[in-house]
């Protein structure tokens, strides 16, 4: 009987010190990638573990331990940007204006020589290549920092647009523009650096 009880306890074992060794680096990489400053990334990881200890009752082992922790960290990153906010400058919004102009002919249709190419191979194949992720990171790093923040809050942390506007104190219209230009720039960058030149 005792053994059975112990096995059950082991199934939902809470081992915070073990998490640090097993998932610490992975979480830290994600946090550092998003907030860019080591000391802040470290704090966010630590807070993630604290929250995990307090909410471990809700973890039933349905998702992997790592993706559960990752989900908590996502919320911490959103909170971090919420407290940052209030200092957004939009001077870098012109970052795509010039590049856009040669994409379309004056009537507003695609300049066919410069229209989107067909991407090959398929997304699933591409995602298995380590080099692809490096290309994507390089493309993301070319975005102006604030535009990258907004884009990644939307696409990685999956924050709702209204929440992003409130958190970063930007108008909905500015948000649409930033997201549109980020997508346009990234699409273009991936096409040039990956799909046009698949290694």
């Amino acid at each position: 009987m005792k053994i059975e009880g112990a096995t059950r306890a082991a199934l939902v074992r809470v081992d915070p010190e073990g998490w640090v060794d097993e998932h610490g680096d992975c979480l830290y990489r994600y946090a550092l990638f998003r907030v860019r400053r080591p000391e802040i990334a470290e704090d966010l990881v630590q807070e993630t573990f604290f929250t995990a200890v307090r909410t471990s009752g809700s973890f039933r082992g349905k998702s992997s331990e790592r993706s559960w922790l990752c989900g908590i960290l996502k919320n911490k990153i959103c909170d971090h940007f919420r407290t940052l906010g209030r200092e957004t400058s939009f001077t870098d919004l012109e970052f795509l204006d010039n590049e856009l102009s040669n994409k379309f002919v004056s009537q507003g249709f695609w300049n066919h020589e410069r229209g989107p190419l067909e991407w090959k191979p398929e997304a699933e194949v591409v995602m298995q290549r380590a080099e692809f992720w490096e290309t994507l990171r390089n493309c993301l790093s070319k975005l102006p920092a604030r535009v990258a923040d907004v884009f990644m809050l939307r696409e990685i942390e999956e924050m709702e647009t209204e929440q992003i506007c409130r958190a970063l104190n930007i108008s909905p219209n500015n948000l649409w523009v930033m997201l549109h230009r980020a997508r346009m720039a990234l699409r273009e960058c991936l096409e040039i650096n990956w799909f046009n030149d698949p290694r």
């Binding site: 915070p16 640090v20 990881v45 989107p116 067909e118 991407w119 992720w133 994507l136 939307r154």
Partner: protein, 119 residues
């Protein structure tokens, strides 16, 4: 000519191109009644964050008949989303950053202290 769909080049991949008089008429008809590509890409970005009206979705469908490029753009925005949302699980592929041993020790200490406090 302004406002008209510009003549299709050789090998236009779109479903409808100016391959004969009938197609040319259709292309012009659709080109005048759906947003221009420059506008379509803006709308497509919005469609990633909010639901478009039924009318707009129909207009886009029609537009795709004469513009394979906008259709590709739409598909690629969805792929871009798939790529970007998977970035956290692929960070090992392009980042060697790790927590320093001392940082790990600090965290473990804080965690065990925290647990003692929690009882």
């Amino acid at each position: 000519m302004s406002g008209e769909y510009n003549p299709s080049p050789e090998g236009n991949p779109s479903f409808l191109a100016r391959r004969n008089r009938f197609q040319t008429a259709l292309v012009k008809f659709i080109g005048k009644r759906t947003p221009k590509c420059r506008e379509v890409v803006r709308i497509l970005s919005q469609s990633m964050d909010s639901k478009l009206s039924l009318i707009m979705r129909i207009k886009l469908r029609l537009h795709y008949l004469i513009c394979a490029w906008c259709q590709r753009y739409d598909k690629q925005l969805h792929e871009l989303r798939k790529f970007t949302s998977s970035v956290p699980s692929h960070l090992d592929d392009f980042s060697a950053d790790t927590l320093s041993p001392s940082a790990k020790e600090r965290m473990k200490e804080a965690l065990s202290e925290d647990r003692r406090e929690l009882g």
